[in-house]
């Protein structure tokens, strides 16, 4: 497991200035090398949960295990700097954290903080640019001169430059146009499938993540209301509605087809292409007596 939470609660202290949602008794596990989507209505505690993953917040109850580091409530935590390098946390609108005069310097900020040499940091920066599909010529540019989509990718690259094993992103595609969103999601998918990193994404737009996510965690009022594979979620998406989330179109269309033929245990087809091909295969079978029989039987 890349991340394991056991009976974790997080309560903000009274003195805290910032109004955020507390978490209650969360048990969850995130397998290494998987893509996990986290969904939840506004104020369900998504941001708080993410901050537990790299020790920015420490649990007030329970145990958080991240890679080989264990954070236990009430115990003195081990040195967290090393953990923060291994768990890259990308906040919402990450381009707002860029501050150096060139993209390269900004990308080197993380690696240098974690004690790498300048040479090594620059190498990491170049690699991160490639991973985010950005042209290396942009390294010399002022980050504030990039286009919106480029800035977002460069900011994510500034976290990737630390070479984290786990990458946690809070709504990475927010306010991007549809093409840039799809592009970013597929870049993130490659980080997982080709490089074996664990990718955790909080999203308001489940449709764009559903086709690639392995697992989902759905939060409601600081508790984990659902945890399981995309297939399990697709078999009963009504849990989303109970958590105040609109059911994504891909799930609605899939359910309509699956319910029509009372399909159970079928791998969900969540892209228009996959669904169309599946419908075609059903339609060619439809005259087939077996389907008819199954249809009438139940």
């Amino acid at each position: 497991m890349a991340i394991e939470l056991q009976q974790v609660s997080y309560i903000y202290s009274d003195r805290s200035l910032w109004k955020q949602t507390a978490l209650h008794n969360i048990d969850l596990s995130i397998p290494q090398g998987s893509i996990v989507g986290i969904a939840g209505a506004t104020g369900s505690g998504k941001s708080t949960l993410l901050q537990l993953f790299n020790g920015i917040l420490k649990p007030t109850e329970g145990t958080v295990k991240v890679l080989d580091v264990t954070l236990q409530a009430g115990e003195k935590s081990p040195k967290l700097l090393a953990l923060r390098r291994r768990v890259g946390l990308v906040f919402q609108f990450p381009e707002q954290q860029m501050f150096e005069e060139t993209v390269e310097k900004d990308l080197c900020f993380g690696p240098l903080n974690f004690g790498m040499s300048l040479e090594e940091a620059k190498e990491r920066a170049r690699k991160a640019m490639v991973d985010m599909g950005l042209d290396l010529s942009l390294l010399e540019r002022n980050p504030f001169r990039l286009s919106g989509g480029q800035m977002r990718k460069a900011a994510i690259a500034s976290v990737l430059a630390m070479d984290p094993e786990i990458v946690v992103l809070d709504e990475p595609t927010a306010t991007l146009d549809p093409v840039s969103r799809a592009e970013l999601i597929s870049l993130l998918e490659r980080l997982c499938r080709e490089q074996g990193r664990t990718i955790i994404i909080v999203t308001h737009r489940m449709d764009e993540l559903l086709p690639i996510a392995d697992r989902w965690i759905v939060l409601k009022e600081g508790q984990a209301a659902f945890q399981g594979s995309t297939q399990e979620l697709a078999s009963d998406p009504s849990i989303l509605e109970r958590c105040g989330i609109a059911i994504p179109q891909s799930l609605r269309y899939w359910r309509a087809v699956a319910d029509r033929f009372r399909l159970e245990g079928e791998v969900p087809r969540l892209t228009p292409k996959a669904l169309a091909e599946f419908i075609a295969s059903l339609s060619s079978d439809i005259s087939h007596p077996e389907i008819e029989k199954r249809d009438n039987h139940e």
Partner: protein, 285 residues
Amino acid sequence: MIETNRLQNLEASEQPAVITLSGVSFGYDPKQPIFQDISLTIAQGQWVSLVGANGCGKSTLVKLLNALLPKSDGEIVVCGLQLNEENIGSIRQNIGMVFQNPDNQFIGATVEEDILFGLEGLCLEPIEMGHRLQVYTDKLGIAHLLDKHPGELSGGQKQRVAIASILAMEPGIVIFDEASSMLDEGSRNELLDILQRMRAEGKYTILMITHDADEILASDRVLALYGGGLAADMTPAELFSNDDLLDKCNLRMPFSWQLARELQKVGINTDVPASEKELIEKLWP
């Protein structure tokens, strides 16, 4: 669907024009114009989507209409008023704008103060302000939030407040500048509902900058900006059938359109379904 949209267009075009642009250009640097020589007319009561890739100048273009930014060249007429120094005030009264970031357009320290900000500027009598406060907070479903601070509201609620603040000023034209892009799925659906109700009322001309396929589909007409000019003026259905234009504007088809397209590819010819239920009924009657 294409037919109904056309019909609405036809009806709308009989209405008087409320926005007319002729030969409008803009550039911070005159040598590098962001767009040039844009001419268009929008009729009263129309719901128009303005689309285009990021950085193509959509947001800049709508800001010229009420002189938030100064046009470099050309003529703009809004509600029969030529845009010039003297008319700015009256034109701004006719145009309401809802922006992208729910936080940054919340001017008052409470919901009530935010709505009053515009009304007090119109120099209305307190009785009239009280009346409008009630009408528009009821309409947007935020009457119970009057004394809330922005920090206590969700993004969707803040956008409703922004819309209430704008509508309470009773403008004829309402511009939405990517107003849904920072909202979650549920709030975006709610915003679409609000827009549909506004259209049904018939007193608003809506100009909406958006990337959202469902929002575009709901509108009557699409204007596409590309390469510093107006690349297309068509119905949403025409836009979604034009791959080249979708590419240029960084847009995607709505899910149902993509599905119909993919079904055609595998030899199942079906119209674009309005819902998943309709699809099932059509495929397997």
